[in-house]
């Protein structure tokens, strides 16, 4: 049996019994077949592992729960009388975070696939050979390495997962994934410098195996809900949980799993639920331009932040998200006003989202609800690809130019969320936390374009911190007619969407999409809107963007139709890019 080198040993497994790793690996074998149980026990002992056998899944779970940190890996048969092996697999993964290997005499591809889907790190076919068992230690080792690494950039990964999982449009989700992650990672790395020290060389040695008991998991879930799913971050959860021995690392990896789990559930829900606005059903996501700037990571952290900026009286729309670093995010903001164009006036009141939306956006918001930005009733889907491309390019430029712009000195992070499915952002304050990762430049540009529009809105929303944690992006589904709230909810991976929906409904009603609603625009909203307009004038002027020129008329003149034809859009785009 190969032994790891010394440094490896010490780095990864500090306990004495692991000095001769992988010898001493603690394995729990679960199989209802007594013959196989005995054989496996013997084989594993031959590998110098510490073996515990169980013939019932329930018993295995009990053993795992009562002796936390007592096992390194679990091997289980798929077909068991008392519990489905896949279920056990899931439970162990969630609660104990241990690598699980599945076994069966049935090697059908669909079964194996199911195993992998449920999280098995390997699937062995019976009869099992010694050499296969000798190698199981690599799963333990690999997991620990990943956890150590993940810890550092967990947010990036989480963002990635969230995006991947939450995005209904896989394309869109993936588009930004890389960029997002990069930017997020950069930011995180900077942020985590001090953390890195703590963790040393990323070795997992400091990390003790945490067993997530039912109680602990409950605490975790409670903390997550309290914070607001999209605002959640390991540190916050950790603080709320008040479990002294728990580390941020533990929470981070558990959060990652939890997200995956929820996203899986969400997908099922999404499929059932109609596009009630929860999803950006409309499709825009398909557009290349539409991308969800999910700053998931950013969002998480920033959701809280965003809001304060809103109140700039100088018309700067910005909400500053303290989002790490997105100085250059102005773009989103800039373009937004323009897009609003005609809509804005009436919308502004609604858009002011200040209050109503902020709550919404707190949610995962990462899905910047762009819909707002797409004032032009442009449903994303409709958006011609051609112009989009241009926009994208220009957006980039725009971004650049903006980045130089002081923007009132605030950083605005606009979260562009793809979810906005159809641009009808207009009144959507779908402001899901806006944060735009800087890296989103390219693609997001397009989206950003929309976002820009939206972001002010959203920012407004977000700006309003008054809202409770659940940040729900105000994404309203554009399916409903024009005033569509982009529902970034779709992007959200979890069930918070439902919560949002109710909020959305509320806002939707109040939103003046067509200028009618207005019923409730809050004073703030109105102010906001005005602010926005001012901002347009002022900011753009400052920024050399003749947006005001270009857009003001539109803003003013156009009938409150939230859609403007593509030609307008293009010109708008271009003008935007002039700056």
């Amino acid at each position: 049996m190969t032994l790891l080198s010394n440094n490896m040993d010490n780095g990864c497994f500090s306990s004495p019994r692991h000095d001769a790793f992988p010898a001493g690996l603690r394995v729990l074998v679960v199989d209802d077949d007594p013959t196989w149980l005995r054989i496996l026990e013997k084989m594993l002992k031959k590998c110098l592992y510490e073996v515990t056998t169980c013939c019932l899944a329930i018993e295995a779970l009990k053993k795992l729960r009562e002796r936390k940190d007592a096992f390194d890996i679990v091997i289980s048969d798929v077909n068991m009388p008392d519990m489905d092996g896949f279920k056990l697999l899931e439970q162990v993964g969630l609660e104990m975070d241990l690598p699980v290997i599945m076994m069966s005499v049935d090697g059908e591809t669909s079964r194996v696939m199911k195993g992998v889907q449920h999280g098995a790190c390997d699937y062995l076919l019976k009869p099992i050979r010694m050499k296969e068992l000798r190698n199981i230690w690599q799963h333990v080792f690999r997991k620990r390495m990943h956890e150590a690494r993940d810890f550092e950039s967990h947010e990036g990964f989480e963002a990635l997962h969230l995006m991947m999982n939450g995005s209904d449009q896989s394309d869109d989700g993936n588009l930004f994934a890389v960029e997002e992650i990069t930017s997020i990672k950069k930011r995180k790395d900077a942020d985590n410098k001090h953390d890195d020290k703590e963790f040393g060389d990323h070795s997992p040695s400091k990390k003790a195996r945490v067993v997530w008991s039912v109680d602990l998991h409950q605490k975790f879930v409670k903390a997550v809900n309290q914070i607001g799913f999209d605002k959640v971050g390991p540190k916050k959860i950790l603080d709320l949980m008040t479990v002294p021995w728990l580390t941020r690392e533990n929470v981070a990896s558990h959060l990652q799993k939890y997200r995956l789990y929820l996203s899986r559930l969400q997908k099922e829900n999404d499929q059932k639920s109609s596009s009630s606005g929860i999803k950006h059903s409309d499709s825009p996501s398909k557009d290349p331009g539409s991308f969800s700037l999910l700053n998931t990571a950013n969002n998480k952290q920033q959701n809280d932040v965003a809001i304060d900026s809103f109140s700039h009286s100088d018309g700067s729309l910005l909400f500053q998200m303290d989002a790490p670093s997105h100085e250059g995010d102005l773009k989103g903001i800039v373009s937004e006003p323009t897009t609003e164009k005609s809509r804005t006036p009436p919308i502004s009141s609604q858009m002011s989202l200040n209050q109503p939306f902020s709550s919404l956006e707190s949610s995962e918001a990462s899905h910047a609800v762009f819909d707002c930005t797409i004032p032009t009733q442009y449903s994303w889907g409709e958006f011609p690809k051609g112009p989009l491309k241009e926009e994208q390019k220009t957006i980039v430029q725009l971004e650049d130019s903006f980045s130089h712009l002081p923007l009132h000195g605030t950083r605005q992070h606009i979260q562009v969320d793809q979810s906005q499915s159809n641009a009808s952002i207009n009144s959507n304050p779908s402001i899901t936390k806006e944060e735009v990762a800087p890296s989103l430049d390219i693609k997001p540009l397009y989206a950003g374009y929309k976002n820009d529009y939206v972001s002010p809105m959203s920012s407004i929303g977000s700006a309003v911190d008054t809202f409770p944690n659940q940040s729900k992006s105000l994404i309203v589904n554009d399916q409903s007619s024009e005033p569509i709230f982009t529902s970034t909810l779709g992007l959200k991976t979890h069930g918070f969407d439902l919560d949002c929906i109710s909020d959305l409904d509320f806002y939707q009603r109040n939103l003046l999409l067509g200028g009618e609603a207005a019923s409730a625009p809050l004073e703030d909203d109105l102010n906001f809107f005005l602010l926005q307009t001012d901002w347009y004038n002022m900011n753009f002027g400052q920024q050399n963007i003749n947006m005001s020129e270009c857009y003001d008329p539109r803003l003013v003149g156009e009938a409150p139709s939230y859609f403007y034809d593509s030609s307008d859009y293009s010109s708008v785009d271009q003008s935007l890019f002039i700056a």
Binding site: W36, R38, D106, K126
Partner: protein
């Protein structure tokens, strides 16, 4: 002399078990696991197998008596039986299990019954041969762990 003769006999039996396809390399794996800590490991495993398989055969008997046949249940039991048989390398028995499951899949009750009868025959034959083998092996001495002829 006796021992040598016994050993040769043991080897011969083993040889034939492999040649005729009653056992596969899993059996050798079991023999390799046998050591000073568990000098009778193989026999121990085979005994466990007999116990488990007897239980399953009896279950199958009962299930096949029902009318109408519950193919899902039959398949489940047979799946277990196959898994169990794979533990000692009971090749022919395993093959018959697969055939039986195929009949279950196609809801062929008659096919199931036929296959089951065949499987019981193979099982009985294997069991007898193994019993002889172990008996001789015990007589021949613990060193007798022959490998199948190449």
């Amino acid at each position: 002399m006796d021992k040598t003769h016994s050993r040769r006999q043991v080897a011969a039996i083993k040889h034939s078990l492999f040649d005729q396809g009653y056992l596969d390399e899993q059996f050798i794996q079991l023999e390799e696991l046998q050591d000073d800590a568990n000098p009778n490991f193989v026999e121990e495993i085979v005994t466990l197998y007999y116990r488990d398989s007897s239980r399953l055969i009896s279950n199958l008997d009962h299930a096949l008596e029902r009318n109408p046949l519950d193919f899902n249940k039959l398949d489940t039991i047979m799946h277990q039986f196959k898994g169990s048989s794979s533990s000692i390398g009971a090749k022919k028995v395993k093959a018959e299990c697969t055939l039986f499951r195929e009949y279950c899949r196609t809801r062929n009750g008659e096919g199931c019954r036929r296959s089951f009868q065949q499987m019981k025959k193979e099982y009985a034959t294997l069991r007898k041969k193994l019993e002889t083998y172990f008996q001789l092996a015990r007589q021949a001495g613990p060193q007798e762990t022959a490998f199948p002829p190449k």
